[in-house]
Amino acid sequence: AQSVTQPDIHITVSEGASLELRCNYSYGATPYLFWYVQSPGQGLQLLLKYFSGDTLVQGIKGFEAEFKRSQSSFNLRKPSVHWSDAAEYFCAVGAYNFNKFYFGSGTKLNVKP
């Protein structure tokens, strides 16, 4: 069955430090992969997506993610975190024959001044 795992429930980083949020998926074929961000009281905003092609994708707000098929991973990175990045981040997987997304449990990011 399809599933998404985000192993880190909470992460705290200092402002200006680099960030990597982990996402592993389970799916038999080539997945479509997404990262969404949810700020408090807000909806899910799309950060970036991977369908095919270059395995390093760029998103909004300076985020990027790398698809590694051999590791079934799609980790989200940012070289320098800003206080406004504090939010909850969700990884999701879809596919060409799906009508739905499967979401991970989310990772809450706290940014220290």
Binding site: P31, Y32, F34, Y36, Q42, G43, L44, Q45, L46, K49, F51, F90, A92, G94, A95, Y96, N97, F98, N99, K100, F101, Y102, F103, G104, S105, G106
Partner: protein, 114 residues
């Protein structure tokens, strides 16, 4: 930039009451979805809708739930007789195409059943 909107943002209801959650998807999108997120848990798929009918539904989407597109712009989720365990954030989403196409989410409706 077009966005999905949802009303109300918060709803409090008594157990056993009916609630209708409303969504206005992005105007040129054809596929519509409802998801829910119980506090502290994953975002879970409820139902997808296309061409005025349900395309797929999850086990959660039982006979107490229904969806409708009453006009050209609104997409609604009705819970006929709410239970305590229906308390959650409900997200509406829409996409231009099916099959893993990017889904754009609304801000959610926080439902509290007392």
């Amino acid at each position: 930039e077009p966005e999905v909107t949802q009303t109300p943002s918060h709803q409090v209801t008594q157990m056993g009451q009916e609630v209708i959650l409303r969504c206005v998807p992005i105007s040129n999108h054809l596929y519509f979805y409802w998801y829910r997120q119980i506090l502290g848990q994953k975002v879970e798929f409820l139902v997808s809708f296309y061409n005025n009918e349900i395309s797929e539904k999850s086990e959660i989407f039982d006979d107490q739930f229904s969806v409708e597109r009453p006009d050209g712009s609104n997409f609604t989720l009705k819970i006929r007789s709410t239970k305590l365990e229906d308390s959650a954030m409900y997200f509406c989403a829409s996409s231009a195409r099916r099959g893993g196409e990017t889904q754009y989410f609304g801000p959610g409706t926080r439902l509290l059943v007392l």
